[in-house]
Assembly symmetry: D2
Homo-oligomer: 333 residues x 4
Amino acid sequence: MDVEEFTPSAEQYAYTFGGVAPVRRVRPGATLRLWSDDAFGGALRSVSDLSTEKVDLSAVNPQTGPFYVEGAEPGDTLVLHLVALEPARDWGASAHIPFFGGMTSTDRTVTLQDPLPDATYIYELDRARGTVTFAAQQSDFSVDLPINPMLGTVGVAPAGGEVRSSLVPERFGGNMDTPEMAAGTTCYLGVNVEGALFSLGDGHYRQGEGEACGTAVEGAMTTTVIVDLIKGGAPLWPRLETDTHWMTVGSSRPLEDAWRIGQAELIGWFGDLYGLHPQDGYQLLSQISEAPLANVVDANFSSVVKAAKALLPAASAFGGIHDELRNRAASIL
Amino acid sequence: MDVEEFTPSAEQYAYTFGGVAPVRRVRPGATLRLWSDDAFGGALRSVSDLSTEKVDLSAVNPQTGPFYVEGAEPGDTLVLHLVALEPARDWGASAHIPFFGGMTSTDRTVTLQDPLPDATYIYELDRARGTVTFAAQQSDFSVDLPINPMLGTVGVAPAGGEVRSSLVPERFGGNMDTPEMAAGTTCYLGVNVEGALFSLGDGHYRQGEGEACGTAVEGAMTTTVIVDLIKGGAPLWPRLETDTHWMTVGSSRPLEDAWRIGQAELIGWFGDLYGLHPQDGYQLLSQISEAPLANVVDANFSSVVKAAKALLPAASAFGGIHDELRNRAASIL
Amino acid sequence: MDVEEFTPSAEQYAYTFGGVAPVRRVRPGATLRLWSDDAFGGALRSVSDLSTEKVDLSAVNPQTGPFYVEGAEPGDTLVLHLVALEPARDWGASAHIPFFGGMTSTDRTVTLQDPLPDATYIYELDRARGTVTFAAQQSDFSVDLPINPMLGTVGVAPAGGEVRSSLVPERFGGNMDTPEMAAGTTCYLGVNVEGALFSLGDGHYRQGEGEACGTAVEGAMTTTVIVDLIKGGAPLWPRLETDTHWMTVGSSRPLEDAWRIGQAELIGWFGDLYGLHPQDGYQLLSQISEAPLANVVDANFSSVVKAAKALLPAASAFGGIHDELRNRAASIL
Amino acid sequence: MDVEEFTPSAEQYAYTFGGVAPVRRVRPGATLRLWSDDAFGGALRSVSDLSTEKVDLSAVNPQTGPFYVEGAEPGDTLVLHLVALEPARDWGASAHIPFFGGMTSTDRTVTLQDPLPDATYIYELDRARGTVTFAAQQSDFSVDLPINPMLGTVGVAPAGGEVRSSLVPERFGGNMDTPEMAAGTTCYLGVNVEGALFSLGDGHYRQGEGEACGTAVEGAMTTTVIVDLIKGGAPLWPRLETDTHWMTVGSSRPLEDAWRIGQAELIGWFGDLYGLHPQDGYQLLSQISEAPLANVVDANFSSVVKAAKALLPAASAFGGIHDELRNRAASIL
């Protein structure tokens, strides 16, 4: 199978969803191998590189794309199957950016307090062992952590002519920052504009649920993704499918609204999958939902709601495309 | 080992944390086998038993207790190790109570809309297979779900002379409604009053994270619990320990504050466990936290923050009491 | 008209709503003249008295009361008409209490930041001019501000056997911290327990809407109040009436829920007053509501929703008791 | 003084802030007389015109503009002084749009409940008396209300290349929906792009604080506005000045964050105006702030924080431009 490679030049990065001309046109069914820089554009390379000095918060999460998907029209469903995510550098970086993150006041939750100390952590990658190393800065504690590569940011152009920063998670996907966006996941996004104009980036070598400090182990990533298109059927909010789970991602503030959105979207999906009336779906999901937080730090907070396929009768979504893409992916790897 | 049994009479149930005289005194080290009624006091026994007719919301979550723990003083740490949770009836009940739950307006998030239809679901228990059965009401869908017994409510008397409804999760524990409160879990609660005055109840045969509709598969439960006491060391908020995880539970509104509380408590605990400075703990937990929601439906919302022991160096909390209690538990079962 | 005077001894103060025996019994129609200490119990008397050293946050807002109102039963409406509020000391105090207030992280909105500096401001009262003086601490700015005496805290015992700290505003009133609670205001509270058990305190010589730093110009107060009782008719949430406005006070978190509660209560009241269907009341109030914040700092936030009588046809609430009490008040002053 | 008139053609309306080419260039100091259509584009003209049938929510709040202000550069302060707001039709319209508004579930606060009934209210304008008439639909209640013309929407192009719907209030102004945006008000907005690209619209003949149902008495408006420019000095968030008050407008979710933003901005402004240290400004504003809600219904909620000039020493902002513009306005009227 043909794999189209794309590595953006410095000027080719996008910092918004919408508002940017496509870097390429792709056909449904295409497999892309995409290089994406880390959230900081590679600016933090040692613990002495502080975000206040090296990072411009209006230009983070550089996006690889957008890609124009041929035939995609508003109301269609863009299908992105993540085949493989490979760390593209030998280190990742995380930072405590002043007034950014979940355990500090921010430009929204404004207080009069001083910021937390600016700090940068560098995580060395051991490819053989598949680990990154956390090293404390105030004591000699260190620990190797298994890598779990994921993408913080996968999205399409918004509806209504809006253009949003690549820091924003929303209905169009975007900076959802969930560890569920990993190899083996199929992501369904509603198409808002001709060509869908999807992009991705913000690779994480690993991230905790909630992304407490606002930054994961941020790393350049090589992503292999199969692009496909379902005519019509656009979900209201991003849906994810893996071999084991049905998932939705809601993004809003306060956090309970993000959760409500995800819950409603999954109840709606259960109507499609199992013919369940919303009241019955509500009841069933009340007993089986998993609800891991994605992030409590971005412009909107994101909450994942998921249901294990193993608990449920067999069903297939969007014509069973996930299984088909898993098979195609197996032939690539 | 002696096991003290207690089954409350109808008049002995408590509906608050605090404000109630103890039903018994127990010594640290005691093992109790406690019967608790379901959240509805057993009032919902068929799908035609509607909550609007049968349930008084000012008297739900009947508590078994409170128990006066000898020697417990404010500032101490009450240790409750859940040895076993056994369904005490052959069915559980769940209800869509009007204006109660996560996907409806409530007495807090007030709207002018009509309530959702009142509905009761009965889940038959198959003890041999260890399942409860969900049966849809608007179609013929049904599915057997593995039981996963847990307690919605475990708490002590509040500080400051407050008395709180057993619907409330707070600093003192209470109606946290997390599936993590299961057999094998040790729960640490700060003691606020002499004797601690803990109680438990609100058994769930299974519950999804978030407890979307506001009620789990509610069922009477027989709980075997070892009670112990650490002098001093009271955590600010509930901490849980299992063989695999360190956990904290924050409860507040909006939901992000519940998460913030849990995150801060776990950062504090990592200071105790690993000598980590809060900034280092913040960074490390940002990369390894799991953050499953507990409930988005109670008087306060509850969020669990957890860290896998397998990712971390060996450490022991509260003098290693969890392992010791696991051993004691093994000798009981 | 007889005026019953009451000045609590140090041991007689209450620090909770509910859970305390009444200090006196009063008959409906009684006029009381009550002395209440300031929120800090008089502990802050100079700028060098810091809250961290002198104030125990578990014993603030000392309440004068509770009073047992003869004949009051659950479901009745307690009527408290504020006749006069007179500063009882020649100075008031305000404090920036660490981790308390609207522009700092708190024990709910937890962050890892350091607290703001602890600071105490003393406001000298000029009785002749009716002013208190603000003096900056970091520059030589000072300004005299007109006094506007009000009570932060007016409430009854909660429902359901709960006992709540006098820091809490809720359905039962409590620490609503609104400048609307001033002389000339009639406050309607639903009775939850026999005797209603109301108390008041937390006098403010003046307060901004929102009470940003968490403390007003806190001062001991002499309050003249007429107590009355309407059998039945209990409002769900506190209602206030002045010569010029209909008002309701909602208290919850997040702040929008406090506002929603107040809005719904006023829509309900407009049904009583004008026979308006809720949809029509919703529309009308959308065009005429005033919505001044009360506080964004307490255990719950409080939001006032009000409508000017001048915009509306004549109507009377609770049998026109406000006008009657105004007349009675005029005969006292 | 020259007044430049502009009435957009149907195709000239903008539905976003940013992303649209300017309709005109204007010089600082120019006076404009602008016609703006109502929020519904004039689609609701009788009570039988329902929003579900006649209104496309992706094209509401048609903006008159954007205008390119010569010399305006990022970091500058755009000054818009509202000289006069005149109703441009003889009726206004308000609607209960399904799943839109403060007392209903929405696309953010999602529930499974049915929407409120779609309803349209028409308010006839009596120019002589200066009133609009509310007529109930479920009873024969009606009342004449004084008009209080204001603009829901005044904003500039956002920073960072974003483009936002004209339903959104944010840092760039936008759909703040506050009754304070009336004749006599000077609005200061930070410039984000060359030319500032400001637009305005969404006239309201009157609106309650909070804009509970999501729509005011929406009406076409003729707005006379003087445009000016201060080089540099861009405020972080919108600031308003009248003859009587200093004001700021914060917009975010949850509502407390909107209030926090406004409070911080006013504390910052008090530093400029009075040389007050933030801690002193915090204290002073805690005692004098007024905090009327703007809206609790838009994509972000908006909260106004204001301080009465009468309570404070004389001071002037931005070189005293408000007084100067008031004088210029007087010469126009």
